[in-house]
Symmetry: C2
Subunit: 340 residues, 2 copies
């Protein structure tokens, strides 16, 4: 039986092990600093499909299949799948999983979906109701642009504070017993809205949610940034990351020493014009699976906090003058169990 630590932190009694993980990405992502770490990079972002939406479906299926292949297992051995994406009604996940015949839980956590799925998968394993569960998330630049912003053909200009939706997907396979890395603790986020209304500055909208979740986790567990090798937020980009570190500075905590952000890791700001950084469910999912988990697996990293962040608005809400609520779900990942 797991238990709660402090107010919101979840502590797994038998921390699930991450049996396998895989990341696939598009051409631009392949040219970034992590390009060589992806399991597969598509040179054509259509993935040979007749629509961008079908391309994202294919992307997500490929990530799951590669994680299964790496674990030497098959879909039939997965007890539950937790998946989500940014498309309206999450169709990349629904169409991506319609042939798997596995119990499916559709999620909407915007760019926080990867850790939302990992927490639920870990909870399912802790409850004894699943032995093996998959968490996956995807995004595609072209499906996101035409849905949230402009038709691609329009060539609309982007604000300097805007982020670039990654064409990428990541899949993680968790199991009850294994050699790690382990998901040891988690802190599921609450919705936080500080009143930011600018759709072109998601980092600022999500930073307060990241602050609240991380602050709750530190308070609940009595831990400090120094205890972690890296604290990696998802998709805050450069502006959101600065705000997050500033908010901690005001609390007398030096987060910057350990902090990095998936939105800043995926692209090279010198050669790739993504303005404030990367975003999209697939951004943090892919960075987790091509950079963080490999390093935990071969013990180059010992303890990591991984905290994707999501912005929970839609176009209609923004047109109605609403502000942008944010959320951040945190998981603690460890290379060794004996460290605890």
């Amino acid at each position: 039986m797991g238990r709660r630590e402090g107010k919101k932190t979840l502590k797994f009694d038998a921390p699930p092990s991450i049996a396998a993980f895989a990341a696939v990405g598009g051409k631009k992502e392949g040219k970034g600093p992590l390009g060589g770490c992806f399991d597969f990079v598509y040179q054509d972002d259509s993935l040979g499909q007749s629509s961008w939406e079908r391309a994202e479906v294919a992307l997500q299926k490929e990530a799951l299949q590669r994680s299964l292949d790496k674990a030497g297992t098959s879909k039939g051995e997965v007890d539950m799948i937790f998946a989500g994406d940014l498309t309206n009604q999450c169709i990349a996940s629904a169409y991506g999983q319609r042939e798997t015949d596995r119990p499916f839980f559709g999620l909407y956590g915007a760019c926080s979906t990867m850790s939302e799925g990992m927490i639920l998968a870990a909870m399912a394993i802790e409850s004894g109701l699943a032995r093996r569960a998959a968490a996956l998330a995807s995004s595609h630049f072209c499906t996101a642009e035409r849905q949230f912003r402009m038709p691609l053909e329009y060539g609309g200009q982007r604000a300097p504070s805007a982020q670039w939706t990654a064409t990428a997907a990541g899949a993680v396979l968790l199991e009850a017993c294994g050699k790690g890395p382990y998901l040891t603790r988690a802190c599921a986020g609450s919705i936080v809205d500080f009143g930011v209304r600018d759709m072109g500055n998601m980092g600022a909208a999500m930073a307060p949610a990241a602050f609240c979740t991380l602050f709750d986790f530190f308070s609940d567990t009595g831990s400090r940034p120094e205890e972690y090798d890296r604290i990696i937020s998802g998709d805050l980009g450069r502006i959101g990351s600065e705000i997050l570190c500033e908010l901690f500075e005001k609390e007398g905590v030096n987060l910057a020493q350990k902090h990095s952000d998936c939105g800043c890791l995926l692209y090279d700001p010198a050669t790739q014009d993504v303005h404030a950084g990367g975003s999209g469910c697939g951004c943090s999912a892919a960075v987790l699976c091509c950079d963080i988990l490999p390093k935990l697996k071969d013990k180059r990293l010992g303890r990591v906090l991984f905290m994707p962040t999501g912005a929970l608005m839609n176009n209609t809400a923004i047109q109605q003058g609403e502000s942008i609520p944010g959320i951040a779900h945190l998981v603690e990942l460890r290379a060794y169990l004996e460290e605890s």
Copy 2:
């Protein structure tokens, strides 16, 4: 620790108890056969808000608050909230929960959301990571019409096979120990797509998913329809219900004797023109909370299977010629634990 029974069925070792539940609805729902059972019926479907989306937000908040009031508890005592709706990016849930400061898991299961949330809430309690968790879902006729179909002002005609999205919300509060009703078993659905492409006939698109989940549950547990007082699907409407019963007939199982459907229960076909029946996440959520759970609570029902169904497409997918994938999540509810 819970365990799996057969291939897909989840059996809760310490079945969570449903501490409280509440249903709120709009004017049309209030005039239906269950109108007198709602906790509150709004006479103005705008709920006094400046947009339909804000009205749905208010509807969902009201359902949760009323369930908390009935349990004699407050938001602070809820360890996790599982919520979803039909709006793009599930904003009714996100904006509805932005002031609760509780760990929030956003779901997208279309009209199956209520049972998806209940399964996850039960799993969280079974894992020991939550003592008390809420599951909620909402829909609003006017947010759904303009998003999925036509501007209301256009007055578009509806096909006879079309269903009417309910303006309603339901909230269920589960806890580790209590006097019931109990959530004893569950069967999380897989995505099933039999190739139906007609957005005006969702019942037909979802019926195969309902069949698969229920068939899996019967196979896994060795149980039969006769063992239940009622087997209630969500939102198949009249056409989908007929297909579901026909599919079971072909397997030699008489489902019709025990079967009813939330989409057929919410409105009176003689006096309310909803064509093939009701639909929307709020339809099954409200029918559960205003009809099924009250009868389980005062022991007028002993054993019930509740199985909301969802159609997982979006407008873009349909425009691209895709078929409609369906899903159905089942929960077994019992008035007494000693019956097991």
